[in-house]
């Protein structure tokens, strides 16, 4: 008896929550937007769009976990349960093909697709597309820059107005006994690094990303793959990433880069806002900030344009939402260029729309805004395959720790991932 009542109570509570999620009887329907954690910018945009909608709908944000792979997991599990409460979601581009392929994303009408694709940087558009259709709305596009300390570069006599190579960075770090900031932790950020290295060397991790699971072929076992492995192995094996490398994520890199042994670091533009904030809060010496320099992502092959990492967030509309029409409307509001510009200026996440870069607030907050736009044009997305999770986890499994990466890593990694995709190995 008691059990049944309790269970019924709990069910009733859930039902009540679902009702609230759908708007219930009074007030406009509430759309739930699952956002990746940021400095509160998406909540501000949600607020503004709610006001603009003028009673048509309300947007509420719900924050997802920090790790990109965890975000995917939380959403995929709910969507597999055909959850109607997911109206809008902030999606990391590599996971979009999986969602689109599984039918988790609502279709975007052709007219709207045209409107939201206008002026969008190429990488962001590619990341929002699956099988030649726009399946998500480009929101913001991220890319990594090469950050350096002016004092270090000066002593090494490097000319930073020209692109530099990874080998040059390694040499400087070795000579001056300094730490290079790279993402060596066993997580998505490590895949980002591997992908940029392979792409910059002229290769590609997955050759036919749209193929079914048992026909996918990997391009790792190649000159480009081995070149990427050489650079990673030299940094890891030589201790150039510092003792923290095997657990270093973007934030750990930043704290090393703000310290005494800093030299170079590849990282997203958030490091700029975070450092400015730290100086404003008085927890960091202003001299450190003045010593910051930035340049385009380092090359693997001298003279060959590098392919910086591409990241960011696109807005997807849940296929099982009760209000897909309103959610699509809301998505269009969220990505309005003025919202993107303000989001960049306040949260440090660069816009997908090229128009937003001309905003004076952006230019003011980010002296390197033009470099970011340039980097985005050159950027290479991670493999756009529905099996991205397997590919990425497989890479992390075989390339971690960086100190153990050798000439044979690319081939064994390709074999392993292929076996996982064929259902012959566990992950």
């Amino acid at each position: 008896m008691r059990r049944r009542r309790a269970a019924a109570g709990a069910l009733g509570l859930t039902a009540a929550m679902v009702l609230v999620g759908c708007g219930g009887e009074d007030g406009p329907p509430t759309l739930t937007w699952y956002t990746n954690p940021d400095a509160g910018g998406q909540a501000v945009i949600a607020q503004r769009c709610t006001e603009e909608a003028d009673g048509a709908y309300r947007i509420e944000v719900s924050t997802l976990p920090r790790e990109a792979s965890e975000q995917r997991q939380q959403l995929a599990r709910r969507l597999a349960a055909e959850d109607a409460s997911i109206d809008l979601m902030s999606l990391d581009p590599p996971f979009i093909p999986e969602f689109a392929n599984a039918g988790f994303l609502a279709e975007i009408p052709a007219e709207m697709a045209e409107r939201v694709s206008e002026d969008v940087v190429a990488g962001a558009l590619a990341g929002a597309t699956w099988e030649d259709e726009l399946v998500t709305v480009p929101f913001w596009a991220n890319t990594q820059l090469l950050w350096y300390r002016e004092s270090v570069v000066e002593e090494a006599g490097l000319d930073m107005s020209e692109p530099v190579t990874w080998d040059q960075l390694i040499e400087v770090a070795q000579e001056q006994d300094l730490v290079l900031g790279v993402q060596g932790t066993k997580a998505e950020s490590m895949t980002v690094w591997i992908n940029a290295l392979v792409a910059s060397a002229g290769g590609t991790i997955v050759e036919n990303p749209e193929a079914p699971t048992d026909e996918i072929t990997l391009g790792l076992d190649s000159e480009a793959g081995r070149e990427a492995a050489r650079i990673m192995g030299e940094i890891g094996g030589g201790g150039l990433g510092g003792p923290g490398l095997p657990t270093a994520d973007e934030n750990a890199n930043l704290s090393v880069f703000q310290g005494d042994r800093a030299s170079f670091m590849v990282n997203w533009p958030f490091v700029w806002t975070a450092t400015v904030d730290a100086v404003d809060a008085g927890t960091l010496d202003a001299e450190v900030l003045e010593d910051f320099g930035w340049a385009i992502y380092p090359q693997v092959v001298e003279g060959e344009e590098s392919r910086p990492p591409y990241g960011g967030i696109n807005i997807g509309v849940g296929a099982f939402s009760n209000h897909t029409d309103l959610a699509l409307e809301a998505a269009e509001c969220v990505v309005a260029p003025e919202n993107q510009a303000e989001y960049f200026a306040t949260n440090g996440n660069p816009p997908a729309s090229t128009a937003a870069y001309d905003d004076p607030a952006v230019q003011d907050a980010f002296p390197m805004a033009d470099l970011i736009r340039e980097s985005l044009e050159q950027a290479e997305p991670r493999p756009q395959t529905p099996f991205y999770n397997e590919v990425s986890t497989g890479l992390q499994e075989t390339w971690h720790p960086a100190s153990a990466v050798s000439d044979s890593t690319p081939a064994s990694s390709a074999d392993f991932i292929t076996a996982v995709l064929r259902g012959e190995r566990l992950l």
């Binding site: 059990r3 597999a80 397997e390 259902g423 992950l427």
Partner: protein, 331 residues
């Protein structure tokens, strides 16, 4: 995690009581007896039935479902491609080195933590047993704190203490050879497992020590006194009198801790997520079904894990029975 007795020990006393009762009843009227027995049986099942059904519903049903699901290739993001593959998942898992390395890591953690906890728990139990009354409450309260703490909290506490960025262990213990400020505990298998096991041991030793305390209370005091009069040293008394007399309690404690340690998940998940070859079986199952949404594969690992626990349990109960008889013979 839980305090129980084995069925072997559990059945004995009530069975004896029941027998006696039955004998008493037999002396009464036959008709009355059968009526009463029937009523009692009915009432017994009315009372115990709901709990019994719920227990079956929350375990037997899911494990049967898992057994069924494990025969399919079934991924949630590609639900249309579900296909029956018989024992394919099992043969794949059992030939996979990742499964076996997880198995060995899990066993290593189980053996090491249980052994350390047994020694440490015994020491703590002795302290609590011998403590003067004024200290007893304080000591027990302190020891119960790790028991009551959430495992995830314990994992974070140990993780942050050892973490190369936010930790203080490296600077405190830099005088120990091998430890300096550049030691990254979570970069290699050995140190990672060390911290994982330390957290596990810290959190669960109180449980084992309380079970041992209960065992200590059962050791006949006069035996110990006699040994003392005979001039036996403290160590000899411990070895010859105390430990043999509490063998049963030790075995129960070891069995339950071992089965609990075999399921280790929280500490590994929080500290390394399985990096540096610290993958354990529970995490492997989680990765397949929850992260990859490969329901078929995950179910197969779940079933295998269940079989492992059954195996350990049966082996231990057999050993335990022997030991119990042996302990009695000596006493």
């Amino acid at each position: 995690m839980s305090t129980q007795i084995t069925p072997a020990a559990g059945g004995r006393t009530p069975q004896a009581a029941a027998d006696q009762e039955e004998a008493e009843v037999r002396r009464g009227h036959e008709a009355e007896r059968s009526d009463r027995t029937r009523a009692e049986a009915r009432l017994g099942w009315y009372l115990a039935g709901p709990a019994f059904v719920v227990m079956l519903a929350v375990t037997a049903y899911p494990i049967l479902q898992a057994t069924f699901d494990s025969l399919f290739r079934f991924k949630l993001t590609a639900q249309d491609e579900r296909e029956f593959i018989g024992l394919g998942n099992y043969s794949m898992i059992l030939t996979d080195p990742v499964f076996w390395s997880s198995m060995w890591v899990t066993l290593l953690i189980t053996v090491v933590t249980v052994l350390v906890e047994l020694v440490l728990g015994f020491a703590l139990a002795l302290v609590m047993h011998r403590a003067v009354r004024q200290l007893r409450g304080l000591l027990r309260t302190a020891i119960l704190v790790p028991y009551g703490i959430i495992t995830v909290v314990s994992a974070f506490a140990w993780f942050y203490a050892f973490d190369i960025n936010s930790g203080f262990v490296n600077s405190w213990f830099s005088w120990v050879p091998g430890i300096d400020e550049n030691l990254n505990w979570f970069a290699e298998t050995g140190p990672s497992l060390f911290v994982i096991m330390a957290s596990e041991i810290w959190k669960t030793t109180p449980f084992i020590s309380l079970l041992l305390l209960a065992g200590l209370a059962q050791v006949p005091g006069d035996l110990e006194e006699a040994a003392e009069v005979d001039g036996a040293t403290w160590w000899q008394r411990l070895k010859r009198v105390v430990i043999p007399n509490m063998k049963a309690a030790i075995m129960v404690a070891v069995l339950f801790r071992a089965l609990d340690a075999f399921r280790i998940f929280d500490n590994v998940f929080i500290m390394t997520g399985g990096a540096n070859n610290t993958q354990v079986l529970s995490l492997l199952a989680y990765d397949q079904s929850i992260s990859r949404l490969e329901i078929g594969l995950g179910s197969a690992i779940s079933v295998l894990l269940f079989l492992c626990v059954l195996l350990i349990c049966f082996a231990a109960i057999k050993l335990f029975k022997v030991d119990l008889a042996g302990a009695r013979g000596e006493g």
